[in-house]
């Protein structure tokens, strides 16, 4: 498809590789909230993530923004590894030791594997901790290159002013973290805003943490953001409770875009809103996306909204990604039985259609036989991936034709 080829040329902004996020719930028992999920998001696209509640959509989003330390897998942002889990290395070492006992491999081989994995673990630790450092070092260099020649050239008052600016820029560069390029919009606009802070404080908080000290710059930026999201300057000195639900969600949006992010993780931003307000927020996000070329990871359970808004959609079921395709393709040719059941559940404002609509139920036990052949993520046609095993793969291919 020509369309796909164009997309492929775009830079991959975020790459998630075999992401696993387990939560310990007891001695030796884990909840696999996210289990071996891989996808990538290209610059400027909107990637939708759907699934029922508890399937790990939100956890995926939170893992990407480093709210959790991931269990296993890698997350790359702009080509830099920002998160790395260690479980896979630990598993490899354990396997090597077992193999040694069963004398499948010899001692030297085993030692080599252990050493290799230990090194990888160290690297992972390093990346996990210090991914921001490399980025801020780069920014510092840039600031130096920009200001130092100017300061050399200038004299007197000009020089003092430039030096002050330089110091400010340097401090900001040192404090800037790579991860601040990823921002999040939360689901509940009431719970996610501190009731004791004014809107100005809420929106500018990120800037201040980043090291911006100049009151005027901060104020100007806050006003700019407020106007951008359709609020007015006067709102800056108010408190969150004085706003309606839609306006509060706009504050949340303003707070995230003031950091000039490249990637926004929108975690159900419209689920808690009235229909009419929903449309306002969706339109706003659409505008911002056109204007700044934002990339979005859009997590939602309302499929009509996701369909309207996203370029590509990933469907998750119990911690696993079961299908991933372009949004039109997904709705046209849903392959995985869970996707089919999900699509059959969408209510539409059309009484006759609704009366005819039959929900397809999904029972993983009845649908799949994975006792022998384990499923994997396979590409049925360019850009359309489905979780299936060999037999199912062939069946799906036949269906597609």
């Amino acid at each position: 498809m020509a369309n796909n080829e164009v997309k492929d040329e775009r830079e991959v902004l975020l790459k998630v590789e075999h992401l696993c996020q387990y939560f310990k719930i007891g001695p030796g028992t884990y909840t696999k909230a996210v289990d071996d999920v891989s996808f990538d998001i290209k610059k400027g696209e909107v990637f939708g993530l759907v699934g029922e509640s508890g399937c790990g959509k939100t956890t995926t989003g939170r893992s990407i923004i480093k709210l959790y330390n991931i269990t296993s897998g890698n997350i790359f942002f702009k080509g830099i590894r920002i998160s790395a889990g260690k479980k896979m290395y630990r598993d490899a070492i354990a396997k090597a030791k077992e193999d040694l006992k069963a004398s499948v491999i010899d001692k030297a081989e085993c030692d080599r594997i252990i050493a290799e994995n230990k090194a990888a673990m160290k690297a992972a630790d390093n990346d996990q901790k210090n991914c921001d450092r490399a980025y801020s070092r780069k920014l510092v260099e840039e600031a130096k290159a920009e200001y130092l020649p100017k300061i050399e050239a200038a004299t007197g008052e000009e020089k003092a002013k430039l030096t002050a600016e330089y110091k400010n820029a340097l401090r900001k560069a040192k404090r800037t973290k790579l991860v601040t390029q990823i921002q999040m919009i939360f689901q509940d606009p009431i719970a996610s805003l501190d009731p004791r802070m004014t809107v100005r404080e809420i929106i500018s908080e990120g800037l201040i943490i980043q090291g911006e000290r100049d009151r005027h710059v901060i104020d100007e930026k806050v006003y700019e953001m407020l106007e951008l999201v359709g609020l007015v300057r006067e709102h800056a000195s108010r408190y969150p409770h004085e706003f309606s639900g839609g306006q509060r969600q706009r504050i949340g949006v303003a707070r995230s875009i003031i950091m000039n992010p490249e990637l926004i993780i929108a975690d159900e931003p419209v689920s808690a809103l009235d229909v009419s307000v929903q449309a306002q927020v969706i339109n706003l996000l659409n505008e911002l996306r056109d204007r700044f070329g934002l990339t979005l990871l859009f997590i939602a359970h309302d499929l009509s909204v996701v369909k309207y808004f996203s370029d590509r959609i990933g469907v998750m079921y119990y911690g696993k990604m079961v299908e991933l395709a372009d949004s039109d393709e997904l709705f046209l040719n849903p392959m995985h039985p869970y996707t089919k059941s999900l699509l059959s559940a969408i209510p539409l404002p059309d009484p006759n259609y609704e009366k005819a609509r039959r929900r397809i139920t999904y029972n993983p036990l009845a649908e799949h036989d994975y006792s022998v052949d384990k499923p994997s993520f396979r590409e049925l046609k360019p850009g359309h991936f489905v979780m299936c095993n060999e037999a199912e793969y062939e069946r799906y291919m036949k269906e597609l034709k």
Partner: protein
Amino acid sequence: MENKLQVRNLRISFRTSNGKVQAVRGIDLDLYRGETLAIVGESGSGKSVTSKAILGILAGNSIVESGEIIYDGRDLLKISEDDFHKIRGDKIAMIFQDPMSSLNPIVRIGRQLTEAMILKGKARQKESRTLFNTYLKNLNAAMIASGVNADEATKCCRNFDKFEFKHIELESAYNTAHEAAVEAIEDIDELAFELEHKSDKDASYHIKEIVKETKASVNKYVLEEDAEETAKARELAGMLKRQYSSCKRSRDFSKVIDTLRELGGILKKAVEKPVPNFFRMGYYLTFSDKPLPDMPTEKLNDYLKEYLDREFMTTFIAHTKRALIYSAEESYKNMDDAVEAMKSERGVFERETLDKKECYAACKALAEKVGATIDKLAITKDSLTFTFAPSLKSELDSYFAAIGNNKKAEAAHARDVKRYERLVQKGKKTGWEVADAAITDLELIKKNIAHLIDRLCEHYLEAASGRKSRNFDTETIAVIDYLKESASGVVAKVTRRIAKDRAIKLMEEVGISEPHKRYNQYPFEFSGGMRQRIVIAIALAANPDILICDEPTTALDVTIQSQILELINKLKEERHLSVIFITHDLGVVANMADHVAVMYAGKIVEYGTSEDIFYRAAHPYTWALLSSMPDLDTNEKLESIPGTPPNMIYPPKGDAFAPRNKYAMAIDFERQPPMFRISDTHCAATWLLHPDAPKVDPPKILVDRIARMTKVNRAGGQNDGK
């Protein structure tokens, strides 16, 4: 169709520190039996307030300014809190929007589910007993009055009373056994299916259940006590556990599956046995000296029928019919009297200023006359007749309590005014203002009274015209059914164990997996969707008449939303439930509703069947709502509604939606539009429907969608999920 709930001219406002917020401004609704009425609108449009008024849980600062909510022959706005206790939760249940705040965090789920069942169970038993007794007493009295020999009538009723309870006992014993057997079959199928797929997560629990249910299904007409197959079934059920534990290791369950199949076969045969007629059997067992003859069930039924008819039933039916006809005739006669009385007395209420003594005397006389028209043997209550006297009295009360008619109130008002003026003179700011003296509209009250009387007169005329077409034979059957039903309520005991079983079944029904484990958990251990399901299960536990759902699925995702809506729909069909469904999601409404009311700023702006609203919407607000949500084929920019809903402390003079409406005309800002009738079922309040208004088209996005929808529908309702 039976009208379950009527809301007439309801006005509610809230006292706040800034002034009076008018939340609901005169709405009329009708809810029919077995129907879903959806109320749609933005937050703050007054939809939740309406539903809370129906349930009598309005906030403390609310004022009900006018209107009536009629349910089961009573006006819910005027009954006492004690009476409301009997209705709330039992007859009218509500599912709230926020599942977290409607569950008690420190009480286990199971306890919360069964609590109401157990409490209501006892109350219901008592209530059914009184209901049965009073009705039978009335019937008896009517029989005697209609000329049946007094002794015979009394004996008839007493005998009916006696054997009816025997019948219910027999039947409920059979039902429990039968249900247990059916459940056992279900469990067996499920377990066999799971074992075939090598999953045995719940196996031990299932086996336990199967053993229990097999034991419970022993009854004379299901699994006969001494029969060979019963012994076999018991043996098989006993074997299950041992077999299962022996092949747990090898994970080869074929033996267990074979046993399950065999057991299932026996039970299926037992379930399909013919059902004896317990009504007749009850009579035979109570009054015949001989034991039950030993013959196959079909023959037995015929034999019993003959016996019953010969001995009792024919006379009882004849007497009942006679009593019914007599009572109806009486009622019609009284109706004529009442109409006469109303005609003569209504002049009292139409004078320039009403006289207190005279009015109350007239009110009392009318109440007596109207009360006499009530047919005590009618099963469905005639709500207009029942509410007439209390409504009239409350109107009179409000008239005579108003300033201008009441010296005390006048004095109090004068005092307030003086105090206020004194404060103002001193230059102090008061936080309050004196209410306007003419706040009660006396003319309106008089009009209301006239309307009450007119309505009842009309109603009587209507009833009289339907007099010829009444079929007393079917009515007699209905009466007997009614008696049977209330008798079964007396026998139905709810013990802790039954309540637990029922609760677990309900939990299964609403889609909670492993309910037996979940039963003992606390609310915080559930996710949002699961919690909402629990709330729904609690609401359904009491088996209500009317279910009010206040945005029940807003916080849930599509699959669960769809399941829950299906569940509500299924229950609606099964139990003839009437549902009031409040939501802002129009997709959900299309699925659920028979009728839709679109509310804005405390008024209903459009009302119609769901087809009317979705295919032929007429009000600009409905257009805006429909076009602001994307569907699967939407690509263009969404049309959001600009601005916010108006401040209801100062409701706008004209159409409340006018400032946000791009189709607004000059008159929209001046005068409120009346309801324009578009078709029999469809009406809308917008000036656009006035004959003089310019013709406008709905937004393009909406027109496109409707065209698309009708096209798809013509192609046979294609479904993209398939």
